[in-house]
């Protein structure tokens, strides 16, 4: 499948719909029927439970709820007006920082582990297996454990830092740190998965190339960036996409670890949606839906960037 043929196809389709008399020559009806048949299960499932509810959400976004949570009155654009406030700006900012941290650390970290792991040294498989264990955790399970890891009264992390002479920050309590802490718990879960994917990509790279990147002090980094990275670009692209999604939709971490605090410093978009819809008996489905649409737009913009720009640099072989 080439971009050319697809563009041609799209043009054909476009012109076909514009000028009915012209016949489509590229497609056989049987092929189309088969394609439709194959797509139906997925499209039906996603259509009913993702796309249709999304339009309901659009409808809901123009509604105000009564105290029982029934979207009983129309509020016009009020819910959208609430998106143009400094508070919501902060929410977007938190989302951006959170996502950036998770994607950067959650991809670079595993890369920094996967490269040494790709060597043929004894014990590498054991290490790899161990590193992927956190991937087994659900978001809420990971949050429970990291909350204990950083609990001010027992934190093994703080203790270890103190042993080497560093005063630990107040992880979940201090403003800039709280967001990083929550993001870190997310990184911890995704790192295992990303390591596997990147490792799989590296396994396809010629050992001599890797070796050159590893040892040669002068040209090593250059080899790495100009040869190795492009070679594993499909894997990298894949983990960047999945990690972006995971972090954009991370809820359990925020909910369990900080509940949006301190004073809203860890309110991300998804948390804000969840909070407006379900916490404290808020039931502001309208506002939550309006924010959900913002998240959708953010997602689509990122998808366009990732697939439209980055994927073109990915070398599939």
């Amino acid at each position: 499948m080439t971009t050319n043929s697809l563009t041609a196809a799209a043009q054909a389709a476009a012109s076909a719909s514009a000028r009915p008399p012209r016949r489509r020559q590229h497609y056989s009806p049987r092929e189309i029927l088969l394609g439709v048949l194959f797509c139906v299960p997925a499209v039906a499932g996603l259509g009913t439970f993702v796309i249709f509810p999304l339009f309901q959400a659009i409808f809901l976004s123009t509604r105000g709820t009564d105290i029982n949570g029934n979207p009983s009155r129309s509020v016009g654009m009020d819910n959208f007006a609430q998106l143009f406030t400094p508070e919501f700006g902060e929410v977007l900012m938190h989302t951006l920082v959170f996502t950036l941290f998770v994607v950067v650390v959650g991809v670079v970290g595993p890369l920094a582990l996967a490269v040494p792991l790709a060597q043929r040294l004894p014990g590498m498989r054991v290490f790899r297996t161990l590193f992927t264990l956190p991937f087994a955790y659900s978001a809420s399970a990971a949050s429970v454990v990291w909350l204990l890891m950083l609990d001010p009264s027992m934190s093994p992390v703080n203790w270890a830092l103190r042993v080497i002479g560093i005063t630990a920050p107040e992880w979940t309590v201090q403003s800039p740190w709280a967001l990083i802490t929550v993001a870190w718990a997310t990184v911890w879960v995704v790192a295992g998965f990303n390591l596997l994917v990147i490792g799989a990509g590296l396994a396809g790279v010629d050992e001599d190339v890797l070796e050159a990147a590893r040892i040669d002090g002068a040209s090593g980094p250059r080899t790495f960036f100009s040869v190795v990275l492009p070679m594993i670009s499909p894997s990298l692209f894949f983990v960047i996409v999945t990690t972006t999604l995971t972090s954009l939709q991370a809820l359990g971490q925020v909910q369990v670890m900080t509940d949006g605090g301190p004073n809203g410093a860890t309110r991300t978009l998804v948390f804000s949606i969840f909070n407006n819809a379900f916490e404290n008996g808020n039931n502001e489905y309208g506002l939550a839906s309006a924010q959900g649409l913002v998240l959708l737009i953010v997602g689509i913009v990122l998808a366009v960037i990732q697939f439209g720009v980055i994927e073109r640099r990915v070398h599939y072989r």
Binding site: T7, F55, P71, P152, S175, N263, N280, G281
Partner: protein
């Protein structure tokens, strides 16, 4: 490439338009449920006759060992009423989850009985989906004089007892007795005011060889601020805490709260108080691990604290004191917290009656003794405290006597009844945001409190507007 992208969005837009029209017809609404506020006479016991075994459902929010204790009580009830009433118990998650589930359920899906937290009271009344317990009390001439008046006070709105209190707790001051002794303080006289706490914390900090790291450490829990105001005998909502009319605003930017917030900030600045957030788990760990010497928590935490203190790296004994006053001259007392049992109006008098039978059972002296001794929740029944089994339990946990005395010493007025407003869960959350702003982000106290007031007032205004429309 660009071409195909645009096509993609075109298709999306068409699909959107189609689906929108579809949505326009289908209503996402679920029906509001019951109709009346329950002023009609409640059914008497005879409606159950000849109905065979009546099946009812009961939603609760008691996890862990508390949930097991509740289940045992219900099992007991089922056994006593074999062939007449059978109750299915459902744990619905935490209070917030239970409330959300209740709101999201349609009239048929709602349970016959639900346990709802204290701050959900006004919402339950406004939802017009319940039968006030008062109507059954009237029909049965049920004797409510056994219920602790301060506890019943919270759930009495417009002179009507809407729900039967079930699990109640009070805030206490918890102290590490050994830390007090080492600092030359009398562990039998825990501090009673903010000034005392600061003075004691300083002494504890100055004690050499002290393993406790902070004199004081309490979760930034909105409930505590409500308590401090009640102790100061100050209503936090207008219309007498919403008890004589519908509350329309909160009164939080007051000298009492300013003093409280400033004091807390000072405590943290001077290293006397531990920086904690609003997660009670962290606060509980701080005390039971011996990290802080003084803490605020509900009576329900006593059991866990005693156990934790014994296993701590430096084991200690737990002492209790009254919830501290902001000013020594304060004359109020703490509000009770916890949850109560609500009978829902689903248009089936038989089930309502069956639910009331369960409510009566759970509120009875015998059940409350079991409940108190197995969970540590305060018994709602005065008689329960005189029961030998209960007395024995209290004698084993002498710290609990503080709670009994504290409750009995509290006068019942609007301030100590607590604020009754539909958006109370949100108001509490806003107060927590204010606490976090002042204690964790170092915001100016007046600014933080004004912020809380504005945010809370907006929520209340929205809620009241919803009631109108």
């Amino acid at each position: 490439m660009r071409m195909t992208v645009r096509r993609g969005f075109g298709a999306l837009a068409i699909a959107m338009a189609a689906a929108l029209t579809a949505v326009g017809c289908s209503s996402a609404a679920n029906s509001g449920g019951g109709t009346s506020g329950g002023d009609a006479a409640a059914p008497g016991p005879d409606v159950l006759n000849g109905k065979g075994q009546v099946e009812i459902t009961f939603w609760h929010a008691m996890g862990g060992t508390n949930g097991e204790a509740l289940q045992k009580l219900v099992e007991q009830f089922n056994n006593q009423n074999k062939g007449k009433i059978h109750v299915t118990v459902n744990y619905k998650g935490k209070y917030d989850d239970a409330l959300a589930a209740y709101k999201n359920a349609s009239a048929q899906q709602r349970p016959d009985l639900i346990q709802m937290y204290d701050i959900g009271t006004r919402y339950m009344i406004d939802s017009k989906s319940v039968v006030p317990v008062q109507s059954f009390v009237d029909v049965d001439k049920y004797d409510v004089s056994d219920i602790q008046p301060n506890i019943a006070g919270y759930y009495t709105v417009d002179k009507k007892l809407y729900s039967l209190p079930f699990n109640t707790s009070m805030p206490l001051m918890y102290i590490n007795r050994e830390a007090f002794q080492k600092a030359g303080l009398d562990p039998d006289k825990p501090p009673t005011t903010l000034e005392d706490i600061m003075a004691d914390a300083k002494k504890i900090k100055a004690t050499s060889g002290e393993t406790v790291k902070f004199g004081f450490g309490a979760t930034l829990y909105g409930w505590f601020v409500e308590q401090w105001n009640a102790v100061a005998d100050q209503p936090i909502c207008d219309a007498d805490n919403g008890r004589t009319g519908r509350a329309s605003k909160v009164m939080l930017n007051t000298p009492t709260n300013q003093k409280l917030f400033t004091w807390w900030q000072d405590m943290i600045k001077q290293g006397l108080a531990m920086k904690l957030d609003s997660n009670t788990d962290n606060g509980d760990n701080a005390f039971s691990s011996g990290t802080v010497a003084m803490a605020l928590e509900s009576t329900g935490s006593l059991g866990g604290f005693v156990k934790g203190a014994a296993e701590a790296a430096h084991p200690f004994t737990v002492g209790t004191g009254y919830f501290p006053k902001v000013d020594a001259a304060n004359t109020g007392g703490p509000i009770i917290g916890g949850a109560s049992l609500w009978i829902t109006n689903r248009g089936d008098q038989v089930k309502e009656r069956a639910a009331w039978e369960l409510v009566k059972f759970l509120g009875s002296k015998e059940s409350q003794v079991t409940w108190h001794t197995s969970t540590g929740y305060f018994p709602i029944s005065k008689g329960a405290l005189d029961d030998p089994a209960d007395k024995q339990w209290v004698s084993q946990k002498p710290q609990f006597a503080t709670a009994i005395k504290q409750l009995q010493g509290t006068k019942l007025d609007f301030a100590t009844q607590g604020c009754s407003v539909g958006e109370m869960p949100s108001v509490r959350k806003e107060v927590e945001n204010g606490l976090q702003a002042a204690m964790l982000q170092g915001k100016d106290v007046t600014e933080a409190l004004t912020g809380v007031e504005n945010a809370a007032n907006k929520k209340i205004a929205d809620y009241n507007a919803k009631l109108g429309g």
